[in-house]
């Protein structure tokens, strides 16, 4: 039994329908627990006061905004190489979710930045990178919408995703070169393993991140299912028209 079995749309639908209810509940519980714990059961930061609590929305959404693009990159590659429809449709389904996560990260960042830096928006490299990422999401979604033939749309958006990823990374470095930042260092440094956030904040933050991750997976599975049903309807209609 291999993972590729679920590249079959019908099998994928069957599995995702079985997994989804549990996933929704788990994601909802994690997000609720993390947010309630984070908002009401953590002390104020000695420097940032209660504004620090927006971290429980800001960091998970920012993480998911980047992960969504990375997932689209992987699924686009799978579509181009192995031509599994589920893969292309999952990329299509993930894009609006990623775009919304980017908006949440930007909006919560602005709300956090106003009391901290005294400004809603600064052309800080991290903020700017996210804004550019949002523009890439917009272009990607618009290209999907504009092309009628679904296979051509999947092909072209995959090429855009690959080229766009290269340019997104280039933009990130260009932006760092262009302006030094105000943004604090990363809250969850994976590479060094050092912890910059104290335990009181860290545990609910991790719960929130798991919750957002699960929420993302659930949303993408659900939306992919919708896309598969749309394609199925389309295929049946096309066959019916030819048979008639």
């Amino acid at each position: 039994m291999s993972l590729w079995e679920y590249a079959n749309p019908v099998k994928f639908l069957r599995l995702s329908e079985r997994v989804l209810p549990a996933l929704w509940v788990f994601a909802g519980l994690c997000v609720a627990t993390g947010l309630i714990w984070g908002f009401f059961a953590t002390p104020d930061d000695y420097r940032q006061g209660s504004t620090v609590k927006i971290i429980f929305l800001h960091v998970p959404s920012a993480l998911m905004a980047i992960n969504a693009w990375f997932m689209m990159l992987v699924t686009s590659l799978i579509w181009l190489i192995r031509r599994h429809h589920v893969s292309a449709l999952a990329a299509k389904a993930a894009a609006p979710v990623g775009a919304v996560m980017t908006v949440i990260a930007l909006a919560t960042g602005a709300l956090w930045g106003q009391p901290m830096w005294g400004t809603w928006w600064a052309w800080d490299p991290r903020l700017t990178s996210f804004l550019i990422l949002f523009l890439f999401y917009l272009g990607y979604i618009a290209l999907w919408e504009a092309i009628e033939d679904p296979d051509t749309a999947a092909d072209l958006t995959s090429v855009l995703c690959l080229v766009g990823s290269v340019f997104a990374v280039l933009s990130r470095y260009a932006v760092h070169f262009w302006n030094q930042g105000l943004h604090q260092g990363t809250s969850v440094p994976v590479a060094t393993g050092a912890r910059t956030v104290s335990d009181v904040f860290f545990i609910p933050l991790v719960i929130c991140m798991i919750g957002f991750g699960m929420l993302f997976v659930a949303l993408v599975l659900y939306r992919t299912g919708t896309e598969i049903r749309l394609r199925r309807t389309r295929a049946l209609l096309a066959r019916g028209a030819r048979g008639a």
């Binding site: 272009g139 051509t152 090429v159 933009s171 932006v175 070169f177």
Partner: protein, 218 residues
Amino acid sequence: MIALLLRDLRLALRAGGGFGLGLAFFLILTVLVPFSVGPQSTLLGTIAPGILWLGALLACLLSLDRLLALDFEDGSLDVLATAPIPLEGALAVKGLAHWITTGLPLVVAAPALGVLLNLPGAGYGWLVVSLLLGTPALSMIGVFGAALTVGIKRGGLLLSLLVLPLYVPTLIFGAEAARRGAAGLDPATPLLMLTGLSLGCIALLPFAASAALRMNLR
């Protein structure tokens, strides 16, 4: 391939609009800037390198939707795709033709427009150099965008939406080089980055563009 280059250049000259339009747009944009930000010459001098780069970028963007769409409509692309020259090469040549008819005139016109915006004396040389090194990347990215959107009716707006984010790194390095040059600083680092970007685009994007174009012709 030389035949293709000559044909595209001749068409750009004959069709009138294609050649002069980008330049005229660049001029008008530059003239409008003082009206919007005020006539103080110190302010204009500070923002001149950035405005000129932005103007050149937008003027480049203006002619992109005609780059492949016309050939698509009259069937030339079908024939080119079955012709003995590789499609990658044909697209690279089309990018070159676009650069000669759009990018190069902009490079030549930029110093004259710099006078209008009170560009500091040290900036002229670096502005021209940065545009000369950066506009090929703009043209090649444009070819890629045009190849992605060629099958779409009224794809012009979508083309801008796709291409403008891709222009970000080029604009940052190009304008940074021009700005540092105008301020009397050393522009070597951004210029090197800009050159690398242009060379990378010229080397790799024809392949991505021809892959996209083949998908569109199917």
